[in-house]
Subunit: 374 residues, 2 copies
């Protein structure tokens, strides 16, 4: 059976990204590699919409989240973590792992946060750092980072944004919005394999990192920054993955970041129109362009639904996480994705739901999507 990857990471890799990894390995202390490294560093600045340095670590996205926590914070700092899903929870877990006093600012999953309530908490606890999420992958919810950043700047709080799944799909205007630290991972909108984590740091953040007293070594930003200034890395880089990322970045540069985001926006709209046309409901109130979380309709077993899609039709969607397990499924339209990926996803949904006895008028989701995709 032909297989299709519609999960929010890893995402499908473009053919040239795949084939570059089959080239003989090169050493990282060569001019040839340094050119690639430089290209990646510059390309990431374009995609992160920042002039800040971006450090790429050999790690999964969580590694860069940990780097943000253990470099930005010191043991006496307070922090606040905005939690509206599984990845927001990770910020609080990371702070607790470093014994940092963190307030969990809970937001109902899939619901926009109340900025006045956030202001009240920030004014009360006076945190040094606020941790937020651009696209909360577990719910498909897009947070208003511009609004949160405005508040943080006014209150003198440093803002760290997990843009792991949102980057390259949703707008993330790091410098324009004044976001100090932005995190991403290679296996999402960046169209590269998993194993690389990126972290952008403002001068203010770098300065704070230089004074942090929390333990770190591999994730040390001062070490990474020192090497970065010499177009080097503190530790042996994942050369193969960096080359893949370089190739993928070139694709984004050629298409143009605005066009890439516009494409994701159209694919997301078409997906939502499609599922709504057959009576399904989108889970989050403010959906991201990266992934659409859809409520499993009454009477349908959600875990069986995604299993049938994968085993019966070869299409790999993600299910729900945490308390949403079995209650939602998630369609990623992220990275190397075009209109026919959305069509096949919707077609698969129509067929499987119909197999499971849910009343679907076949073609209806497709027809609604096509109107937007044209």
């Amino acid at each position: 059976m032909k297989k299709y990857l519609m999960t929010p990471g890893p995402t499908t890799l473009p053919e040239d990204v795949l084939s570059i990894m089959a080239q003989p390995i090169i050493h990282h202390r060569t001019k040839e590699y340094q050119e690639i490294n430089q290209k990646v560093n510059e390309g990431l600045k374009y995609i992160f919409s920042t002039q800040n340095p971006i450090f790429t670590l050999a790690a999964s996205g969580t590694g860069a989240m940990e780097a943000a926590v253990c470099n930005l914070l010191s043991s006496t700092d307070k922090a606040i973590a905005i939690i509206g899903g599984k990845f927001g929870e990770r910020w609080a877990e990371l702070c607790k792992a470093y014994k940092v006093d963190v307030e969990s600012f809970e937001v109902e999953w899939g619901i926009p946060l109340d900025i006045d309530r956030l202001r009240e908490r920030i004014e009360t606890i006076k945190p040094a750092v606020c941790f937020a999420t651009l696209c909360e992958t577990s719910t498909g919810m897009l947070f208003d980072i511009k609004g949160i950043s405005g508040l943080c700047q006014k209150e003198g709080v440093m803002l760290v944004v997990d843009a792991i799944s949102g980057l390259g799909a949703d707008p993330m205007l790091t410098d324009e919005w004044g976001v100090d630290v932005v995190i991403s991972g290679s296996q999402k909108g960046l169209m590269a394999p998993p194993g690389l984590a990126c972290i952008s740091m403002s001068q203010k953040a770098l300065e704070k990192a230089s004074r942090s007293d929390l333990p770190k070594y591999y994730f040390s930003v001062p070490k990474a920054y020192k090497a970065y200034q010499k177009n080097d890395t503190a530790f042996t880089p994942a050369i193969t993955l960096i080359r893949a990322l370089s190739c993928a970045i070139e694709r984004i540069q050629k298409e143009g970041l605005e066009n890439v985001i516009k494409r994701h926006s159209i694919l997301a709209s078409a997906t939502r129109a499609g599922v709504e046309a057959i009576g399904l409901e989108v889970f989050p109130k403010n959906p991201s362009n990266a992934v659409t979380a859809v409520k499993v309709p009454e009477g349908i077993d959600g875990k069986r639904l995604t299993k049938l899609m994968k085993d019966g039709y070869g299409v790999n969607f993600a299910g729900g996480q945490g308390h949403l397990e079995g209650k939602i499924f998630r369609i990623a339209h992220l990275g190397y994705c075009d209109k026919f990926d959305v069509i096949l996803a919707l077609s698969c949904i129509e067929m499987v739901l119909s197999d499971m006895g849910y009343p679907v008028k076949k073609g209806e989701a497709i027809s609604s999507a096509e109107k937007i995709l044209i």
Copy 2:
């Protein structure tokens, strides 16, 4: 110019390891990936000569070193780090980063340690953990891990061994020697790209890790172990690199670990015979099978030597690190390496030294090596 990689990591990748990375990416929460993961876990046990679980992290080798430090130690523990080169130093740096009281047990670079002096220090400071190195990549020195482990067991000290460059080249009999924790990296004898770090943990080490109070999250062994027991990983694995590693491990299994080590031993002997035949001196007293460090002869500029080899002949050797910069050069015969790799390395050395005015009788290094390679 055709290029040759004779560096102790990254090492040349076999063709099938390269080509498997060009296959479409698969999701890690699939049966297909779980089979690969299981194969890697079992294959690593064979190569590490252990029944202990081995956790493979998306990180460079230093990541696994850090995992050993922040999981095995607690804040009130004492540690001792055997330092005979740049990578031994890293153990002490890592302990200090976590504010652990560590004694640096300095050994002259390239010289075997005095086991009685080590015993005296261990009996005096009573450390919980001793950190050692199998092959010290910066000097090409092989340490007597069997002897150190015997001492540690007698003294009730846990032993952690950095076998990053030694594994698969020098014998590393984890269980037979009773070594609690062994570290390796993908880009050395394991013939895979950089970006993966492996750590094996005895039950005693796992038990100590479960009680450690040092901060960690991404490198948490309890998290890794919990996922491992379900044939899963705590965080998104570097899928592409794991597939490459799986392919490389299969090669080692087919050749047989003993044959692989024997091959490395022959290549190392031939390399030493070759350089000695033209009057050069091997740097370490007890050389590893992974890499041969050679003293730069009097009157020759060591940095220019490696530069000419790379730029003039396309052969990438490593130079010296730390206080050995310019004083040694290092020839790796590690991983996907056979007799003609040694021949080309020696031929390059003959030609470049001759170019630089050093008196070389051309073919003499080759002739001595061939006698061993036959």
